[in-house]
Subunit: 147 residues, 2 copies
Amino acid sequence: MARPPKENAPITEHLAYLLAQANREINRQLELRLSKEGVPVEQWRILKVLSDGEGHSMGELAEAVLLNHPTLTKMIDRMVSDTLVYRVQDPNDRRKVLMFISDRGKALCKKLNSLAVDQEEHILESYGDKSTSELKRLLESLIDSSN
Amino acid sequence: MARPPKENAPITEHLAYLLAQANREINRQLELRLSKEGVPVEQWRILKVLSDGEGHSMGELAEAVLLNHPTLTKMIDRMVSDTLVYRVQDPNDRRKVLMFISDRGKALCKKLNSLAVDQEEHILESYGDKSTSELKRLLESLIDSSN
DNA sequence: CTTCAATTGTTGAATATTCAATATTTTCAA
DNA sequence: TTGAAAATATTGAATATTCAACAATTGAAG
């Protein structure tokens, strides 16, 4: 029967710490690959979400790409300058802004996807198929149970 | 046999994204608890690492608490002002600074530990003993395989 | 209808983080 | 022993993030 860590347990026994550590490491590797195109991880996420071709509101996007609103606004400003995405006011609710991906954005996203898949292949090799899919399953379930 | 996500797979199938999402969620919960004492998660980590009573160099600490050097230096500055920790020059290598936890820091750390254990108990309840320990095992192993 | 609260997104100031440069000390090869 | 390279920590400027306040629009109760 599992117990929570004792009060004086080392920090490495805490789930919060293990998640932070793993996230940092994997993120660093991904960052390294994406830097080949000079794009931060968050922008790849944005492009990926928008690449369904649908319009997504800022709130929806912020949730999906794990950024809070003001940070997203400013990152989108940059991406608009780079003509990777564009804004359209939602005709059904004029408080909202719908974000779309441009052709240039789609082209870039394609390259980034390939770099990201490279990384996952690398993880599969060193970490193993079984562990990877089991870890993904457990993470999904943890996220579910936290809502 | 597991495959990496396809190029056009949704972002939610990427390990990097699932880790980021889980980390964000768990971290947010922990943050919420620790905010009762007005302490950011990183400071709890620092106090916890130092609470072995040994002196730890800045580089060692930075590695352990997942912060890069300049960020750590500035956070330590604040904690020194709050008299939670103090600096001592390493007599064996005068390039190094050894960090120690103060009595006040120990007292605070104790309260924080209890809040953190509360959280893990809460996770155990909603997520399950089995899943939690299996997830920890897989995360440790992922971290290992990334070095 | 009208008004007031809630929702959505942006802005500006305050804060925090990062990058590059620096200072100090140690290591080590010549 | 000396001088150059490496290791360690800090600093300051540039950048990014966050918080609180704001503006615009919608929803909904009276």
